[in-house]
């Protein structure tokens, strides 16, 4: 509901079908379930498990961006993509640096 100077709906804003949202929702649920499996059952070692979970998380981001945020249909100026890049940088920086911090590198070096 954009309250703009007389323009109610801009040209790029097509109506999206409900099926697309439902498919996206199901896919994100499936990805979540697949991630829960190995995390709950302890069938994998920690190292590979982290890699698998990171990849699944990445796929989850793709699903969100494509199905819910319609990333392929943007009509804004190109610099809007900058914010997306910034978002990805923040996401990976926070995730990877958290792994770094919470791995307690100094302590682990002493232990081993």
């Amino acid at each position: 509901m954009a309250v703009h100077s007389g323009v109610t709906r801009e040209p790029g804003h097509k109506k999206h079908k409900a099926t697309q949202y439902i498919v996206g929702y199901l896919r994100s649920l499936i990805l979540t379930a697949v991630a829960f499996g190995p995390a709950l059952t302890h069938t994998m070692r920690v190292g590979p498990l982290i890699v698998v979970l990171t990849i699944l998380a990445g796929l989850q981001i793709v699903v969100q961006l494509y199905f819910f945020m319609h990333i392929t249909e943007g009509d804004g100026p190109p610099f809007h993509a900058l914010f997306l890049v910034l978002g990805l940088i923040f996401t990976f920086a926070i995730a990877l640096m958290s792994v770094w911090i919470m791995g307690f590198p100094a302590f682990m070096a002493q232990v081993s």
Partner: protein, 657 residues
């Protein structure tokens, strides 16, 4: 009285806890009766419902945010006075240890989340659409939802004081202390649920204003034409959108631990409490930039207006705003240098923390250069801005001291830290918000706040501030730790603590003067008939005060930065007056009661989960879902203001060109 009632009174109403609870009960009861009586007596119920509760107008939502922020400043301030009274003399037992814990917890949480956040949202709402030449925000309905989520979250949080008990694990609520085993009772749940609900609203506000600024600027307004307050809103919104989810996750996991018996943060069952500390500060550090960036925006507007000069170094101002919002993500571990992640981690975060001081320094110099050789008018907004500079400089310098990781091992969690962050949060955020409130008050209400009373408030608050917090730096060096409820007499801390408490009282007098000033000015304040009382530079001053509910009868075309100032210089201000033939029907969103009801549903859900009444919790959530579905099926949510109505309104305002 029946014993059932007495049990209820002891457990939930806490009537054995003493006069503070009784006093609050009586005060709440009297105020509630007073409000209901006044609304009924003056037949204002319908007015309240139509004009305020169901409104989606950004100006009214902004005013409601402002009122809430000032009320919460009072509550948080009252908490602070209680804390300082307890610490005034050694071995004091004015408060028990338990009460002291509760009060510093609510003080911190309220000041950050229920005072600073609504204060910046108040200014976003009141200023941004007017500055960029828009008729409302991008999503007015969502904007109302954000406000009501904040409002009901604040109600839920404050309810804890008189019903069930306040949270007492500090505003950071680290597990294991905040886990069920160490902290039973509803207090901590209140904290978790209230923050969760208000956090949803904050994320929505961040998205809303980013969309508004990128999509709804007046024609011709390029990004580098935008006023700096709008730029600071962009920077703050970017940080909100990326930081708040981390808080939502951290407290959701802790809520699951406490209510559904999971073990994310309980060590015995394989959880890791330090992960909460990490997640909390992934949000917590950017959060302080969220609240200070809009204050920087205010200073930029105020300095340029009252020095009657273009802001010095506009593009470096924009660049440093954006740099701060990016670097703010890479500093969070400096809150827990002592946790033991090691020298590599600490070095990285120490250097990043010092880096963030550089763009901030650039901004301070730009403000000073703007003032240099300007014809400065010492109005209230300018006074607070000038007071901010030395205050923030000292706060920044002590911040660099804290950022040096090896030294931080000495200061960590001492009163040195307390003095530091109060100096940047009061000197930076509160001064900025007050400057912004004084500056835009005439735009909101159509009259200025009284200058003389404002000066009394200013001097009391400022002198009180230094008397209160300077001794705390020394106390920190002398070994006094934060969150200690009392101390023995032979530590050598007595005099400094007493001085600090006196300072806190002086600040309270300053606040009382602000209250008197507002009440006095409602009746006697100088009326603003021109819409441009400060001789301003940006678009909001081209409108009458207060602005009509559609803001701009005809959307202006912008050709330069500080467009209103340029037009005044060239004697072309009449070009912004609408001509009757140019006016078209104006497309507006309809009011809706649903945002309010949705907030209420969230409140019910929150209350249910606080007391482990899962049925009530899920009932509330069902109400939320019902509101969402009703909205999804709503098609008739907008209307057009007919031309003759706009023409009439503009004619009565004397603005038809």
């Amino acid at each position: 009285m029946p014993s059932g009632f007495m049990q209820f009174a002891d457990k939930y109403l806490m009537w054995k806890e003493g006069p503070m609870i009784w006093g609050s009960d009586v005060a709440i009861l009297l105020v509630s009766i007073g409000i209901v009586f006044a609304l009924t007596y003056f037949h204002k119920w319908k007015w309240l419902w139509r004009e305020w509760i169901t409104t989606v107008d950004h100006k009214k939502i902004g005013i409601m945010y402002l009122i809430c922020a000032l009320l919460m400043l009072f509550r948080g301030g009252a908490d602070a006075e209680l804390l300082r009274t307890q610490l005034a003399i050694p071995n004091n037992h004015f408060l028990s240890a338990e009460h002291y814990d509760q009060i510093f917890t609510t003080h911190g949480t309220i000041m950050i989340l229920f005072m600073a956040m609504p204060f910046i949202f108040a200014l976003f709402n009141i200023v941004v659409p007017l500055q960029i030449g828009a008729r409302d925000v991008a999503f007015p309905y969502l904007n109302a939802i954000s406000f009501w989520l904040f409002f009901f979250a604040a109600m839920l949080f404050n309810l804890s004081f008189v019903f069930g008990g306040s949270p007492d694990a500090s505003w950071v609520s680290y597990p294991p202390l905040s886990e069920l085993g160490f902290d039973p009772g509803p207090g901590e749940n209140y904290y978790l649920l209230a923050l969760q609900i208000t956090g949803i609203g904050s994320i929505a506000t961040g998205i809303n204003f980013l969309a508004t600024i990128f999509k709804m600027r007046a024609p011709g307004m390029k990004l580098m034409h935008m006023p700096l307050f709008t730029w600071s809103t962009v920077a703050a919104c970017v940080v909100i959108i990326f930081a708040f989810p981390a808080l939502a996750i951290a407290i959701a996991l802790l809520t699951l631990d406490r209510i559904f018996g999971t073990h994310f943060f309980t060590i015995l069952h394989g959880g890791n409490p330090m992960m909460f500390v990490n997640l909390f500060w992934v949000w917590g550090h950017p959060e302080v930039y969220i609240v200070v960036l809009p204050a920087f925006g205010v200073y930029s507007e105020v300095v340029a207006t009252f020095a009657r000069k273009r802001i010095f170094g506009y593009s470096s101002m924009v660049a440093s705003l954006m740099l701060i919002s990016v670097i703010s993500y890479f500093v969070w571990a400096h809150h827990f240098f002592t946790m033991g992640a090691g020298a590599d981690v600490n070095t990285f975060f120490a250097v990043a923390s010092m880096l963030v001081g550089i763009p901030t320094g650039v901004k301070v110099f730009n403000w000073l250069f703007t003032m240099y050789r300007g014809r400065i008018r010492m109005t209230l907004p300018m006074l607070w801005t000038i007071a901010f500079v030395p205050c923030f400089a000292i706060g920044g310098a002590t911040g660099i001291m804290l950022a040096a990781a090896p030294a931080d091992y000495q200061y960590h969690n001492s009163y040195f830290l307390i003095a530091h962050f109060h100096q940047v949060l009061i000197g930076g955020v509160v001064f900025g918000m007050l400057a912004g409130m004084y500056y835009w008050w005439p735009k909101m209400f159509g009259f200025k706040l009284d200058e003389r009373l404002g000066r009394w408030a200013f001097w009391f608050f400022n002198i009180g501030f230094y008397v209160c917090f300077m001794p705390q730096y020394a106390l920190g060096f002398m070994g006094m730790q934060r969150r200690m409820y009392t101390y023995p007499a032979d530590m050598g801390w007595n005099t400094l603590n007493l001085i600090s408490t006196i300072g806190a009282y002086i600040m309270a007098i300053g606040f009382v003067f602000i209250v008197i000033q507002v009440l006095y000015s409602v009746k006697y304040g100088e009326r603003d008939l021109t819409g441009d009382p400060w001789d301003g530079r940006t678009l909001e001053w081209s409108l009458p005060s207060p602005a009509p509910h559609y803001n701009f009868a005809v959307i202006p075309t912008v050709t330069s930065r500080d467009v209103w100032w340029e037009l005044k210089e060239q004697g072309r201000t009449d070009e912004l007056k609408p001509k009757a033939e140019d006016i078209k029907p104006i497309h507006m969103p309809k009011n809706s009661a649903r945002p309010f009801l949705m907030g209420l549903a969230f409140f019910v859900a929150g209350f249910g989960f606080v007391f482990d009444l899962l049925w009530l919790g899920f009932l509330g959530l069902a109400g939320v879902v019902a509101c969402l579905i009703a909205r999804a099926l709503e098609y008739n949510d907008d209307y057009h203001i007919p031309v003759h109505e706009v023409v009439e309104t503009e004619a009565t305002l004397g603005r038809l060109g």
